[in-house]
């Protein structure tokens, strides 16, 4: 992993935190920023709530916390 990569991404996160707290600007709700360090490109993907989402969909299946190790399978790094 390129060492500066988490620096860029972590600071975008910190920027969003400050905006949320102060209540300014347009938070990244419904948008996913994809950063490519080699191409030096930021792309914005519009993302929508999935009405079939197990958590926030119209008929949620997850109403309390589950077993996440099991959900992610054995090979999931912890």
């Amino acid at each position: 992993m390129l060492g500066v990569l988490p620096g860029i991404v972590g600071l975008i996160q910190a920027t969003e935190v400050i905006k949320l707290i102060v209540g300014i600007g347009q938070p990244l709700f419904g948008r996913l920023i994809a950063y490519d360090a080699l191409a030096m490109e930021f792309r914005e993907l519009k993302v929508k709530r999935d009405e079939n989402c197990a958590l926030c969909g119209n008929e949620p299946k997850i109403t309390e916390l589950v077993n996440y190790e099991e959900f992610c399978g054995v090979a999931c790094p912890t």
Binding site: M1, L2, G3, V4, L5, P6, G7, I8, V9, G10, L11, I12, Q13, A14, E16, V17, I18, L20, I21, V22, G23, I24, G25, P27, L28, F29, G30, R31, L32, I33, A34, Y35, D36, A37, L38, V47, K48, R49, D50, C53, A54, L55, C56, G57, I62, E64, L65, V66, N67, Y68, E69, F71, C72, G73, V74, A75, C76, P77, T78
Partner: protein
């Protein structure tokens, strides 16, 4: 013949409509569409002001009023200590084209005399005035925003690659409380990117190491280190204590868990993920857009998971 202050005031009060303290109280209670402006000196304002008022000292009035009230048709109610300076200020605003300007007769002292409530901000120390001066200079942040930052509580999940820069800048920005949860200890191989840790802290719990760095950076920040693993048993209780959650984790177990807990607690979670040269960022909040599960309903198959 030169005018006396008496003449000036009489003129101003003829030109600028006066409203009473009770009128203003009613406007506030009715949540009327107006801007209440405190035009006194800074030290008078510091000793207390009417809740909801914006501060534009008379000295800077002509220069800054448009920043606070860009719409010149908007109702503007001015107040000072007794209602004289606000009348003069009102005249100035009318000259600048403001069409609905009022001056509160009796002023802030009249407001206080009637036993009405007011607020007083915590005073800044000399050091804070200097430390946050660049934030104060931004209209979007200012003293109000800085106060919000100092009163806020942010939970950082992980003090690794993503958590390190976030923690440092959030601490520098004056986020008042930073909870940092990480069960790991600092390893030499972390130092290439986990910039909150130092060579001297190799072997130390990451949450403790991060706390040390932040204490050296900004004494205004209270760090709560959790040298433990985030689990389905402890996460909800933890998340409920904070205003915002920052997902700086490096595994899917934690990412799904943070997403679900933040959603259930109604708190915004700031998602970040990184792999080799690529990164992704988004913000999830209930009723404000999708959640992590909308984007990634199931974790990738085990063979595809980067270690």
């Amino acid at each position: 013949m030169a005018k006396s202050i008496r003449d000036l005031l009489a003129e101003a009060k003829k030109q600028v409509h006066e409203v009473s303290v009770q009128d203003v109280k009613q406007m506030i209670e009715n949540q009327e569409d107006m801007v209440l402006v405190d035009v006194r000196e800074k030290d008078e304002y510091a000793n207390g002001y009417i809740d909801g008022a914006v501060y534009v000292g008379r000295g800077m009035l002509e220069f800054s009023i448009e920043n606070h009230v860009p719409n010149k048709q908007k109702k503007v109610v001015l107040y000072c200590a007794r209602g004289n300076r606000s009348a003069l200020a009102g005249q100035t605003l009318q000259t600048l084209g403001y069409a609905n300007v009022y001056s509160m007769a009796g002023g802030f002292l009249g407001w206080k005399d009637q036993g009405l409530s007011f607020v007083q901000d915590k005073q800044w120390s000399q050091e804070q005035l200097s430390r946050y001066s660049r934030h104060f200079a931004l209209r979007e942040i200012g003293e109000k925003g800085q106060r919000k930052l100092l009163e806020s509580k942010v939970l950082l999940v992980g003090a690794g690659g993503l958590g390190s820069p976030s923690a440092i800048y959030l601490a520098a920005a004056g986020v008042g409380t930073l909870g940092i949860i990480d069960s790991d200890v600092v390893d030499v191989s972390n130092l290439q990117r986990q910039i909150i840790h130092s060579t001297a802290n190799v072997g130390k719990p990451k949450a403790e190491s991060a706390k040390e760095m932040i204490a050296a950076l900004n004494p205004d920040v209270k760090v709560i280190p959790y040298n433990s693993r985030l689990t389905a048993e402890n996460i909800l209780e933890l998340v409920r204590e904070y205003d915002v959650v920052v997902d700086g984790s490096d595994n899917f177990v934690t990412k799904y868990m943070v997403n679900d807990a933040a959603y259930m607690a109604g708190k915004p979670s700031v998602f970040g993920s990184i792999f080799q040269f690529d990164g992704q960022v988004s913000v999830f909040q209930r009723d404000r857009g999708p959640c992590y599960r909308c984007l990634f309903p199931v974790p990738p198959p085990p063979g595809l998971v980067p270690s």
